[in-house]
């Protein structure tokens, strides 16, 4: 009796563990894509794989929805396979996804890399297998591309420029010499670094003093804790520049709790719907819109052109617009 219950326990636990592993392994979903065998037997409608970062993130969700809408409108032209990773930082998983797409014999990969350097070799393998690769959102490191002698067109925003736009708008509301602070994204992320540089460009050009610059890891609650600490340490700060809106929301809450919301400005980046409400109330000064829904579409159109035989197009810089209460 005891022996069998032990075995039963073990088997059940193993089955559950396997089931869980399978669930965590599942990345995204597929839209009307035929299996590999079908591709060989019918005239190939090109299959475009869209590999993003975290599909659970609002930004990439918007991107995916934009891509799906485009595919629906052009259903005769191509099929779309949208995949994402669970965690924005899971480089390993994204490399596996690329390899899976190579194995599934897709015609093009449009990728928003989790890391600017570490995804290049996987994409190069794809190109060696005859797959067209287009880079969106987070630009591949140019040094690594040159070293590997590979050309991958980039479609995406200039984060630094966008952040500078936001910073310049803020500077117009401040006076030279005012102390300000920056709330950064994840320190290793390329777009986080670019946004920080953009904020610094704007603040230095206008003569503001950056007294603190800390990471909020793109998270509302971390930004909340960091801003509370920074405003306590430097009560004279006049503005917080946050590298994304999630963090800006945390900053606003922290300032409200400290009774400083009236005296301190907050700017963000991304134009998420939650931020728009704050803009209307005047609690957030400005943010930037990257037009996420268009980003993937541009990338897909580039890919289709390249499949059709055209040479890799030039890098295309997508617009980043300043969003304020006035132009909402």
């Amino acid at each position: 009796m005891r022996g069998t219950s032990g075995i039963l326990k073990g088997v059940t636990a193993t089955l559950i563990a396997i089931a869980l592993a399978l669930c965590t392994g599942c990345g995204g979903d597929q839209t009307a894509s035929p299996g590999p065998r079908d591709v060989a037997s019918q005239p190939a409608k090109p299959r475009v794989a869209l590999i993003m970062k975290s599909l659970a993130n609002e930004f990439f969700l918007t991107m995916e929805e934009g891509a799906k809408a485009h595919q629906k409108a052009n259903a005769g032209t191509y099929d779309l396979v949208a995949q994402g990773i669970k965690d924005e930082r899971d480089v390993n998983r994204q490399v596996q996804l690329v390899e899976q797409m190579i194995a599934q014999d897709v015609d093009a990969i449009v990728i928003a890399p989790a890391d600017s350097k570490l995804l290049v070799s996987a994409c190069q393998k794809a190109m060696d297998a005859g797959i067209v690769v287009v880079n969106i959102d987070n630009k591949f490191d140019s040094g690594v591309l040159a070293e590997r002698n590979v050309q991958i067109p980039f479609v995406g925003p200039d984060n630094r420029k966008g952040a500078r736009l936001v910073g310049e708008y803020l500077a117009g509301k401040l006076s030279p010499g005012d102390p300000v602070a920056i709330v950064e994204g994840i320190p290793t992320a390329f777009n986080a670094i670019q946004r920080k540089l953009g904020f610094e460009d704007a603040m230095n050009a206008a003569g503001m003093k950056i007294v603190a610059s800390q990471s909020g890891s793109w998270e509302t609650s971390k930004a909340n804790q960091v801003v509370s600490a920074v405003i306590t340490e430097n009560p004279d700060i006049k503005a917080f520049l946050c590298a994304n809106d999630s963090m800006a929301l945390g900053a606003v809450a922290a300032l409200r709790a400290a009774g400083k919301l009236a005296a301190v400005r907050v700017v963000g980046f991304d134009n998420i719907s939650a931020a728009q409400e704050l803009l209307k109330k005047g609690e957030l000064l400005a943010t930037a819109d990257q037009h996420a829904d268009q980003l993937a579409v541009f990338g897909i159109e580039y890919a289709l052109k390249m499949i059709g035989g055209e040479a890799p197009p030039e890098d295309y810089e997508t617009p980043v617009d300043l969003v304020t209460a006035e132009n909402l």
Binding site: Q214, S228, S273
Partner: protein, 321 residues
């Protein structure tokens, strides 16, 4: 053991943690300008209520030699339910609150029921719930953060001597938890289950029901923490709560609760949370870079556990001596 010895041991238990806390405060006061101020202490303290509440639940779970890895995700899901009730369906506050707490409780009940029915390790069950609840949070909010503004408002801004109402509630939860652990049969039974479950069962303690109750409690407290967090951050993000389970475990272990069960105190877990909060606040005020913060936090956690080791040896030797 004489009563003098007892109070000596009692003090020693709490002394170690308090010393660490005071050392941290002193250290940061030296290195930063505005640390040793009432405003600062209030600010730090007002950020801890959700972490405290989760730590209480985690203490109970660790005492019975279980573990609850799902608390962060359950917090996220409960928050998501709250936000959707208030924002999308426009339901009144009490309904939203009930839904939030109910979601937490339901997840906890599921954790407990699954663990005891199939006699599975709580590690795996709550790991599964971690994924399920997180997925649920994304599903419910459609992956978008929801701004609630001051809908949770009046309650949030209520202060007593500058300390928020939510912190007072968290302290009440700590007190209630400690009373249950120290003064009720229920509490004593939990320690027995954690020390030696089979012996506890043979002596007539309804171990399975008590274990299920503890997981339900942990889930419920995660729901309460969700309410607090949504109020404090004025909104809900489906990614809220990621990592909270590890932070709670760190705080509880710093507080001297054993990962192997049978030993623990909610008040000490509270001190553990305070230590981590003071550390985070101080490092941010010292404008430390991200890598410094993580290195220092890790070292403090290990140091606190080593101090706890010596504390226990002293305690053991004075008991036997």
């Amino acid at each position: 053991m004489s009563s003098g010895r007892r109070s000596y041991i009692f003090l020693l238990d709490y002394l170690g943690l308090t010393v660490v806390l005071l050392l941290l405060i002193a250290g940061f006061s030296v290195f930063t300008e505005n640390f040793f101020t009432l405003t600062n202490f209030r600010t730090i303290v007002n950020q801890t209520p959700d972490a405290v509440v989760i730590a209480v639940g985690m203490t109970f779970v660790l005492i019975i030699a279980g573990i609850d890895l799902s608390v962060g995700s359950v917090l996220g899901l409960s928050e998501a339910v709250l936000a959707v009730c208030l924002h999308r369906f426009g339901l009144p506050m009490p309904v939203g609150i009930a839904a939030c707490l109910g979601t937490g409780l339901l997840c906890g009940v599921l954790n407990g029921a699954t663990t005891i029915t199939w006699r599975l390790p709580s590690f795996i069950v709550t790991l599964g719930m971690l994924e399920i609840a997180r997925g649920g949070a994304y599903l419910v909010t459609n992956s978008r953060s929801i701004y609630l503004g001051t809908q949770l408002g009046g309650f949030v801004s209520l202060r007593i001597g500058g300390v928020s109402m939510m912190f007072v509630i968290a302290v009440l939860v700590v007190v209630a938890g400690q009373i249950v652990l120290s003064l009720t049969a229920f509490g004593r039974h939990l320690f027995a289950i954690g020390s030696n479950e089979e012996a506890a069962r043979l002596s007539g303690i309804p171990t399975q029901q008590l274990k299920a109750a503890v997981f339900a409690l942990s889930g419920f407290l995660a729901g309460l923490a969700a309410l607090i967090s949504a109020a404090r951050l004025e909104g809900v993000n489906p990614e809220d709560g990621i990592g909270y389970e590890l932070q709670a475990i760190a705080a509880v272990v710093i507080g001297g609760t054993s990962l192997f069960g049978g030993r623990g105190s909610v008040v000490r877990s509270f001190l553990g949370v305070m230590i981590i909060a003071v550390l985070a606040g101080g490092l941010a005020q010292a404008n430390a870079q991200e890598h410094t913060k993580r290195l220092v936090t890790g070292m403090v956690i290990v140091a606190a556990v080593i101090i706890d080791y010596y504390r226990n040896r002293l305690r053991a030797s004075s008991v036997s001596g």
